[in-house]
Amino acid sequence: MKNVTRNFTGKEKIIIALMLVILLFLAYNQFVDKPIKQSIADEQEEQKLLQAQIEGVNKKVLALQQMQDELDALSSTGETPPEMRPYNAKREERYFIAGVLKSTKRWNISFSDCTRNGDQIRRQFTVTFTTETYKKMEWFLTQLNKCPYRCIINKARCSIQNSRSLEGTEEPEVVVTLTATFFETMVGGTPDADLPADSRK
């Protein structure tokens, strides 16, 4: 019986050592290097997303800060305009107009369909009214001007005329035709079937 056990030769040892090194390298690559690279790549990807989010939120903060500054500036000057009501405040606006028109002698009012431009709603109306005195006409316009709901008088035409009374006497009267707009906002407003399409789109 032959006994063949013997030591590795030098070449064999070198080959075995090389194979061991390659094996270790592969194991390192598979179980250490790759997971670490993947972790770093994942973290960097998440950082990019976070940075984009931070940028977006910071822009929002800046815009909000500017809004706050503008509100502060308005309140410091005491020139805060009347409140713009959320859509749809036509009922309150009509009640307001009705209250003011009571002071006039005759009136005729027509409302246009509201228009929408982004969040801005405009509700235009035209009213012709007659008052006995110039003072009453001034009172009407002042009331409309300081209306608690945002309203601007676009056009107004005032003329002092003479009218003949039932008794046949001439009496002066003031006739005004004006076009004004109530402003409402879609911010906080609830859309309904009357809401027009956005003219910006």
């Binding site: 019986m1 032959k2 006994n3 013997r6 030591n7 390192y28 250490v32 290097d33 670490i36 972790s39 770093i40 973290e43 998440e46 950082q47 976070l50 940075q51 989010q53 931070i54 939120v57 910071n58 903060v61 909000l64 500017q66 809004m67 706050q68 503008e70 509100l71 500036a73 308005l74 000057t77 020139e79 805060t80 305009p81 409140e83 713009m84 959320p86 431009n117 982004g118 969040d119 801005q120 001034e138 316009l141 002042t142 409309l144 001007n145 300081k146 601007i152 008088i153 676009n154 056009k155 107004a156 035409r157 005032c158 003329s159 002092i160 707009t181 402003f183 906002t185 911010v187 906080g188």
Partner: protein, 207 residues
């Protein structure tokens, strides 16, 4: 493999017999190695292992930790920014309701209508008769008449209007004088005019 020679022919003379009674060919040429000779190899292997552990594993894990810390810091920044947004509450709604956002420049810079009435009252009333006025945007047309045949009076009215800080410019667009016969038979003159007033724009804070 050991060979053993049991002499069956002990009686035979075969000359000199080898003194060795066993042999292992595998042992031939084998040099006896000492354990101490492995020390340098082990040391080299340990040094390489330490270097790999340091630069290939520990340093890399530190890189991962640094990236994780950076991510955590960004997450914290995002949370702080979100908290700041939340701190503004319903500012957007308040802003939409209380500022001029959404309105056009032409709308927000319209001259205050009450101030227009005040302008007519303070500058014209008592100096002439205001027949009518027509206001559109920041343009005001006023129809007036004065007694006498004097365009100068109308011109003075226009000048008085222009000196008011609420007025940008004035212009007499038309004027005429007519004579009216009075009850006592004397001719009385009346000068009518239309004055165009360009009002100053209202200054507002608009974002």
């Amino acid at each position: 493999m050991a060979l053993s020679i049991k002499d069956k022919t002990a009686g035979l003379s075969r000359g000199h017999m080898p003194s060795k009674t066993s042999i292992n060919f595998a042992e031939i040429g084998k040099q006896k190695s000492h354990y101490w000779s492995a020390v340098p190899v082990i040391a080299v292997v340990l040094v390489i292992a330490a270097l790999v552990a340091k630069f290939g594993v520990l340093d890399r894990l530190e890189d991962v930790s640094a990236e994780e810390a950076k991510t955590a810091e960004l997450q914290q920044q995002l949370n702080q920014a979100n908290a700041k947004v939340d701190s503004f509450g319903e500012l957007t709604e308040k802003y939409a309701r209380l500022t001029y956002s959404g309105m056009t420049d032409a709308e927000v810079t319209l001259a205050d209508r009450v101030q227009v009435l005040d302008l007519i009252n303070t500058v014209l009333m008592g100096k002439c008769t205001v027949e009518s006025w027509d206001l559109s945007g920041n343009e005001l047309f006023i129809d007036v008449h004065t007694e006498g045949n004097e365009l100068r009076h109308i011109s003075m009215l226009a000048d008085a209007l222009e000196q008011d800080p609420r007025v940008a410019t004035t212009q007499i667009t038309s004027s005429n004088a007519v004579s009216v016969s009075s009850e006592d038979g004397e001719d009385q003159y009346m000068t009518s005019a239309r004055i165009k007033v360009r009002l100053n724009k209202k200054e507002v804070i608009k974002g």
